[in-house]
C-alpha cells in the first residue's frame, strides 16, 4: 500500500541567498575586470558599489524570509545580476565619456530595492490591489498625461515623457505601466465572461459583440493619443500590447489578438504616413545604409558595427569602443554589451530576461485567484515586450523606439519601476507557492465537509 500526495515546493530561501551572493560576486568580478583592463589595479568604487548592492539585495532577501517565505527563489537573484551588470557597463562607459552615470544609477538602484522591500512588507496580499481597480485607472491616465502639463512636463530628445521638478526628472510612464497592469487585471477579471463567451462565429474566429469592443478601442485611442501628443512610440506600443496580452489571457480567445494586431497595424500605418518622426524611424530601419540617412541612422549603424566587432565572445570589458554610439548607456546599452561581451554575453543576458518572464508566467499559472493570474501575466508580459522592443530596435528587427532596457539602461524611473514589478511578482508567487492549508479529517465516517480557516486580506 502506498500513499500518493501532491508535492508542494519547498521555500528554497537558502538557494535564493546563494544565488544572490553569486550574482553580486559576478557583478563585482566584472567591475574588477573593468579596472584591471583600464590601469591594472582594482578600481576604487568596487567595494563601495559591490558591497552596497550586495547589502541591499541581502536585506531584500531577509525581508522575503520575513514576509514572503514562499516567494519564487530566482526572481531576486536574476534582477540583482541584471542590475549589477548594468552598473558595471555604466561605470565602464563613464570611464570613456567622463560622466558619472554609475553613481547616480547606484542611488536609483538603492531606491528601487528599497521600494521593492516596501512593497513586499506593506502589501501583505496582492488581492488588496483589486479594490483600487478604478483608482488605478485614474492614476495611470493622470501619470500618462502628467508630462503634457505646461510647467511640469519636459521635452528631452524630442519626446515629451518627462516630469521635471528642479534638477530631478522622472518618467511617470514607467510607473503608469504598473498601475495600468493593476487596472487591466482588475477590470478584465470581472468582465472576462462577457468578453469571451458571447458573439458571432466567423470562420474559425469567435468575434466579440460590437458593444464589447469598447474597452479595446478606448485603450487603442489612449495609446494613439500618447503617440501623437508625447511623440513616444515605445510607451504607446507597450501600453497597447499589455492591454491586448492581458485581454487574451483573460478570455483565451485568439480573436482579440487578431483584432489587436489589426488595430495596431492601422495605427502604425497611420503614424508612419502622417507623422514625420515615425516615418523617419521606419526609413532608418529599412534603409540604414542609404547616403540620405547617413546622419539620422548614425546611432543605429554604430550600434550594429559595435556588435559586429564584438563577435562571438566580445572584445572584453573596456577594450571596445561602445562610447562611439550616441546614448550608449541608455538606449543602446544592449549594443554596448554586444560589443564587449559578444554574442555569448548577450544570450546570457537574454536568458536572464527569459527566466524572469518565465517565472512571472509560472506564477500566473500557479496562483489560484483570477486577479493574481492576470496581474502576474501582465507584469511578466510587459517585461518581455519591453525587452523585445528594445533589443529588436537595436538589432534592426523592428524600428527603433524609445523604451528602456529593464534593469540595465541608465535611468532611475525605469529601474525603480522594474524593481517594483519584481516585488509584485514575488508577492504573487508567495501566494502561488504557499501550500494549501493541511486538511486533516477525523476518521468518523460520513465526515465529508471540510472547513478551512482562510485569512481574509
Amino acid at each position: 500500500m502506498a500513499t500518493v500526495l501532491p508535492v508542494y515546493p519547498t521555500t528554497r530561501r537558502n538557494v535564493e541567498l546563494v544565488l544572490v551572493v553569486a550574482a553580486v560576486l559576478i557583478s563585482c568580478g566584472a567591475w574588477a575586470v573593468v579596472g584591471l583592463t583600464e590601469d591594472g589595479s582594482l578600481p576604487g568604487g568596487l567595494f563601495a558599489h559591490g558591497g552596497g548592492l550586495g547589502a541591499l539585495a541581502v536585506v531584500l532577501h531577509l525581508l522575503l524570509r520575513w514576509r514572503a517565505p514562499h516567494a519564487d527563489p530566482v526572481l531576486l537573484p536574476v534582477a540583482t545580476l541584471l542590475n549589477g551588470m548594468g552598473l558595471v557597463m555604466l561605470h565602464r562607459l563613464d570611464l570613456s565619456e567622463g560622466t558619472s552615470a554609475a553613481s547616480r544609477q547606484f542611488i536609483w538602484s538603492a531606491l528601487g530595492i528599497a521600494a521593492a522591500g516596501a512593497v513586499v512588507v506593506v502589501l501583505r496580499d496582492h488581492r488588496v490591489l483589486r479594490r483600487y481597480t478604478f483608482t488605478a485607472m485614474v492614476t495611470g491616465l493622470v501619470l500618462l498625461a502628467l508630462p503634457l502639463l505646461p510647467v511640469l512636463g519636459k521635452e528631452i530628445n524630442g519626446a515629451r515623457i518627462w516630469v521635471g521638478i528642479g534638477p530631478l526628472s522622472f518618467q511617470p510612464g514607467e510607473i503608469a505601466k504598473i498601475v495600468l497592469a493593476v487596472f487591466f487585471a482588475g477590470y478584465l477579471v470581472v468582465h472576462r465572461d462577457a468578453l469571451s463567451l458571447t458573439g458571432p462565429k466567423v470562420l474559425f474566429l469567435r468575434l466579440p459583440r460590437a458593444r464589447d469592443l469598447g474597452p479595446i478601442l478606448l485603450a487603442w485611442a489612449v495609446s494613439v493619443g500618447v503617440l501623437v501628443l508625447q511623440r513616444d512610440l515605445g510607451t504607446s506600443l507597450l501600453f497597447f500590447g499589455l492591454f491586448v496580452a492581458v485581454l487574451y489571457v483573460a478570455t483565451e480567445r485568439v480573436s482579440w489578438i487578431v483584432i489587436g494586431l489589426g488595430l495596431f497595424v492601422a495605427g502604425a500605418v497611420f503614424a508612419a504616413t502622417t507623422m514625420s518622426h515615425v516615418r523617419s524611424r521606419v526609413d532608418i530601419w529599412l534603409h540604414p545604409f542609404d547616403a540620405d540617412n547617413a546622419d539620422s541612422a548614425y546611432q543605429l549603424l554604430q550600434g550594429l558595427y559595435g556588435m559586429a566587432s564584438g563577435g562571438l565572445l566580445g572584445t572584453g570589458l573596456d577594450r571596445g569602443r561602445p562610447d562611439i554610439v550616441p546614448f550608449a548607456n541608455s538606449d543602446f546599452i544592449y549594443a554596448s554589451f554586444g560589443e564587449e561581451l559578444g554574442l555569448a554575453g548577450l544570450f546570457a543576458l537574454l536568458l536572464l530576461y527569459a527566466v524572469l518572464v518565465e517565472r512571472g508566467m509560472r506564477t500566473a499559472i500557479g496562483v489560484r485567484d483570477g486577479f493574481g493570474k492576470l496581474l502576474a501575466a501582465g507584469l511578466a508580459f510587459s517585461v518581455a515586450l519591453q525587452v523585445f522592443v528594445v533589443v529588436g530596435g537595436v538589432t534592426r528587427v523592428i524600428p527603433l523606439t524609445g523604451l528602456t532596457t529593464p534593469f540595465l539602461a541608465a535611468g532611475g524611473s525605469s529601474l525603480v519601476s522594474n524593481w517594483i514589478v519584481v516585488a509584485l511578482l514575488l508577492r504573487v508567487s508567495d501566494l502561488a507557492r504557499r501550500p494549501a492549508a493541511e486538511v486533516r479529517n477525523g476518521p468518523e465516517p460520513g465526515d465529508t465537509g471540510v472547513t478551512q480557516a482562510v485569512r481574509i486580506p
Binding site: 502506498a2 500518493v4 501532491p6 530566482v74 536574476v78 565572445l313 554575453g345 479529517n441 465529508t448 471540510v450
Partner: protein, 161 residues
C-alpha cells in the same frame, strides 16, 4: 596586465555568467513538480509478508496486473498499481490515493478485486457528489472495465492493463 591575463579574465567572466544562468535553470528544474509516492507498511501487510515466505499452497487464479491512471485533475499522471488488496480513493488521509480535489468526499470510492478473480469492482461509498463510470452514476458495485473513465469530482481515473 598581460594580454593572456586579460583574455582569461574576459572568458572567465562569460563562463561565470553562463554558470549563473545554468545554476538558475537547475533551480527551475525543482519546479517540475509531480507527486511523491511513499510506501506505507501496515500491520496486515507485514503479517502477510511473513506468511508469504512458504510457497503458496493453492495459487490463486492469475490475476492480470493493472494500473489505475489519473487522467484529469490535480494529480494527473499519477499511476497506482492494483494488486490483491482493495484500494480506497478519496480526500481523507487514510485513503490509498489521497485526492487534492474539493469535489471529492473523504472516502469516495473503493476498488476491490472481483470475487471471481477477473477484473475489479468499483463501489461508491455514498459520496456527496457521486461517482460516474462512463455516463452512469454508480449506485451498486459494478465491474470496472479498462478504458472507461471513472469521474470523481474533478478527477478522472482510468484502468489500464
Amino acid at each position: 596586465m598581460s594580454e593572456l591575463t586579460l583574455t582569461v579574465l574576459r572568458l572567465g567572466l562569460l563562463a561565470l555568467l553562463w554558470l549563473f544562468v545554468l545554476a538558475v535553470v537547475g533551480v527551475l528544474r525543482t519546479d517540475l513538480l509531480g507527486t511523491r509516492v511513499t510506501a506505507r507498511r501496515t500491520e496486515r501487510q507485514r503479517g502477510r509478508q511473513r506468511r508469504a515466505e512458504p510457497p503458496p499452497e493453492a495459487p490463486a487464479p492469475r490475476r492480470e496486473r493493472a494500473t489505475l491512471v489519473v487522467v484529469e485533475g490535480s494529480l494527473r499522471g499519477t499511476t497506482l498499481a492494483l494488486g490483491q488488496s482493495p484500494v480506497l480513493i478519496g480526500r481523507g488521509a487514510d485513503c490509498t490515493l489521497v485526492l487534492d480535489d474539493e469535489y471529492a468526499s473523504t472516502r469516495h470510492v473503493r476498488i476491490t478485486p472481483a470475487p471471481d478473480g477477473a477484473g475489479w469492482l468499483v463501489e461508491d461509498l455514498q459520496s456527496t457528489n457521486g461517482s460516474y463510470l462512463g455516463r452512469d452514476r454508480l449506485s451498486t458495485p459494478v465491474p470496472f472495465e479498462p478504458g472507461t473513465p471513472l469521474r470523481i469530482g474533478r478527477t478522472v481515473l482510468e484502468l489500464r492493463r
